[in-house]
Amino acid sequence: MDKNVAEEKMAQLEWYISKHCLWQYNSRGWDRLIQNERILTKTKQVLRGENAKDDDTTADRYYWSEAMSLAGAFKRYFPWITETSKDDIAQILDLLKERMDFTMVKGSLNQELIKQQY
């Protein structure tokens, strides 16, 4: 997929997350990176029709629940996603992960993110 097109589609998904999701706002930067990694990876797997469960822990089940919810919402809001190839979904979701890491952590103005303790 052309990079500009992928970025335009990624921006739509980012908009949805910014308006509807709370999981990206954990109070510490290291925690946000984990949330982004686990939930967006699983969302990508769900959208590509792959197994998104790693183990039977409650932690994994939590990330999977967020991913299932997010993937369902993406399909409701953006019908183009069901017609997008697996490779293109991977490209868009990888861009999304990169963007979320930047907005919520690396480029964030939130001064509390670097505190060590909760």
């Binding site: 706002y25 954990n26 629940s65 919520m104 964030s108 103005l109 939130n110």
Partner: protein, 540 residues
């Protein structure tokens, strides 16, 4: 950074970084005010203190507990009965408040002996209550009273009594938020893990950061019970002290107000491996999404979908009646800490309201990240505003109403801007599907109040119209509505009861809920006594 310079605060240059205008191309890397910093000298803040944040916001909603402030009587009086965190067992926590009534002589000679006497006296006066929360205040923290030692002595002398000591004096943080943090961790350290609960469902959650304002918790409890989920404890609205000792035994922490209670969730995740799931219980879509993902977690998404379908069918036509009449209404959404982000987007998409400003008194930058994200470009985001800034913003933005607490709300009234109380609520509960309709109704009644429109007339100079008499809200709201909407047979006004909570409590008494057995998975009723007062055994 698109900082917003208030004219009234030009003499306090540090204030500049506490307000931003969200532009069309702004995101969180370019537009975010400072937050959770010490109030700047010279600005008249609307914040509460750390004692208030611990006691009033989080401690006191616990039911069946004697809430005793160790300090001057004013501290406890000023944090009493101003928020309607009701309980389903008689509202002891609202009816009574206790103080050790520290005086000048106690400051000189110490107040520990008097405190002990007061604790015993309170327990004897209310023999049916076995739990007590003691809150330190500025005065008793400064004189160095050892409240924990006194509490230990009493617990030894009065077996069966349990005392939680909250050391969060007023000066222990920039705002009430400092008190939220302290009471979260102190309760966890002192009491969580000391009880063993009876588990009667396969699906067990803690409901965290929920304070049962006018029955919010009981609305959500109904949904959870309909899904067969056991609520081990609610932190803290309508929550029992004994249940809260068992927080470590849940499968999932469902977190509503992250501002006030994320700390205990994060620690439960680290210490006990219980995941934290943040939810939004306000708004149709947000509540549905929340139930859906809890359903995914336990593998009962079909139960969630069934509730969502039932609730949409019952309440959506009523929400849409108000949404049709509230399109484009301008609102300043100025609550305390979390509702700016819980509500901003849902107000826009589901009721058509244009949120022109968000503010938070005690929120952190994390709250503003959510608030700025969820409001539309053009909105003004303010951290810890002073009264003059609030006035200047209202004069500039000309909102149709503001949703805030009673202190800034009364200020708004003075300049003829109507306000809804979204701290203690006007006619809540506002949570869940039914609650969201009630909020839409209250907004409608506020914006189109014929009585309020009279305040815009100044009898000292304006001509008072004598040719207009009878007027209703609907006569005002329907002026520009299409006939299709006006004559719709599908849309209807709110039909929620004056108070929906007795209906929910009656449903609980009738014991209509079923839960899956933790061993066999068989769905069956659970004795009502367990639903109302689950068995908890003391453990070391």
């Amino acid at each position: 950074m698109p900082y917003h310079q208030f004219k009234c605060s030009e003499c306090i240059p540090e204030r500049l970084q506490h307000a931003v205008d969200k532009g069309v191309d702004e995101d969180l890397t370019s537009a975010l005010p400072l937050g959770y910093l010490n109030t700047i000298p010279g600005t008249i803040s609307e914040r509460g203190c750390a004692y208030c944040g611990a006691k009033h916001v989080i401690g006191t909603p616990m039911k069946n507990v004697i809430h005793l402030s160790h300090g001057p009587v004013g501290c406890t009086y000023d944090t009493w009965q101003t928020k309607r965190y009701i309980s389903d067992d008689g509202n002891f926590q609202l009816k009574y408040t206790f103080a050790s009534d520290v005086k000048e002589s106690n400051v000189v000679f110490g107040a520990e002996k008097m405190l002990k006497k007061n604790i015993i006296e309170a327990f004897k006066a209310f023999p049916q209550i076995h739990n007590m929360n003691i809150y330190s205040t500025c005065a008793t923290a400064l004189i160095g009273d050892d409240i924990n030692a006194v509490a230990e002595e009493v617990m030894e002398e009065m077996p069966g009594k349990k005392i939680f000591v909250c050391n969060s004096p007023g000066f222990a943080g920039p705002s009430q938020s400092g008190g939220h943090h302290k009471i979260n961790l102190q309760f966890l350290n002192q009491w969580v893990g000391t009880g063993e609960p009876e588990i009667y469902s396969k699906y067990v959650i803690n409901y965290i950061g929920e304070y049962n304002i006018q029955g919010d918790q009981e609305i959500m409890r109904d949904y959870f019970y309909r899904m067969g989920i056991q609520i081990l404890a609610t932190f803290t609205g309508n929550g029992r002290f004994d249940d809260l000792r068992c927080l470590h035994k849940a499968h999932l922490n469902v977190l509503e107000c992250a501002r006030s209670a994320e700390y205990i969730c994060d620690e439960l995740r680290v210490r006990y491996g219980i995941p934290r799931m943040d939810i939004d219980g306000f708004g149709f879509e947000a509540t549905a999404d929340s139930l859906r993902k809890i359903g995914y977690f336990f593998g009962i998404e079909d139960k969630a979908e069934q509730i969502i379908a039932e609730e949409y069918a019952r309440w959506k036509p009523e929400l849409d009646w108000y949404a049709a009449r509230l399109q484009g209404v301008k609102m300043c959404l100025w609550p305390g800490g979390s509702k700016l982000w819980h509500w901003a987007h849902m107000l826009k998409t589901e009721i058509g309201i244009n949120v022109v400003s968000v503010y938070t008194k005690f929120g952190h930058q994390g709250d503003m990240e959510k608030g700025v994200s969820r409001c539309e470009p053009g909105a003004l985001a303010i951290d810890d505003p002073n009264e003059l800034e609030g006035l200047e913003a209202m004069y500039e933005l000309k909102p149709d109403l503001i949703m805030t607490g009673k202190r800034p709300g009364e200020v708004a009234k003075k300049i003829r801007v109507p306000y809804l109380n979204v701290h203690g609520y006007h006619n809540g509960p506002y949570k869940g599907f039914e609650g969201w309709v009630r909020l839409a109704r209250d907004i409608y009644n506020c914006v189109y109040s014929p009585a309020h429109s009279l305040v815009h007339l100044d009898i000292s100079k304006d001509e008072i119209p004598t040719d207009k008499g009878f007027v209703t809200r609907q006569m005002l709201s329907d002026v520009n509505l299409s006939d299709e909407i006006k004559n719709s047979t599908e849309l209807r006004e709110c039909t929620s009861d004056y108070d929906p909570i007795p209906r929910l409590r009656k449903k609980l008494e009738e014991n209509l809920y079923t839960f899956p057995d933790p061993e066999t998975g068989e769905w069956r009723q659970v004795p009502l006594e367990k639903l109302k007062k689950n068995k908890v055994v003391d453990v070391e």
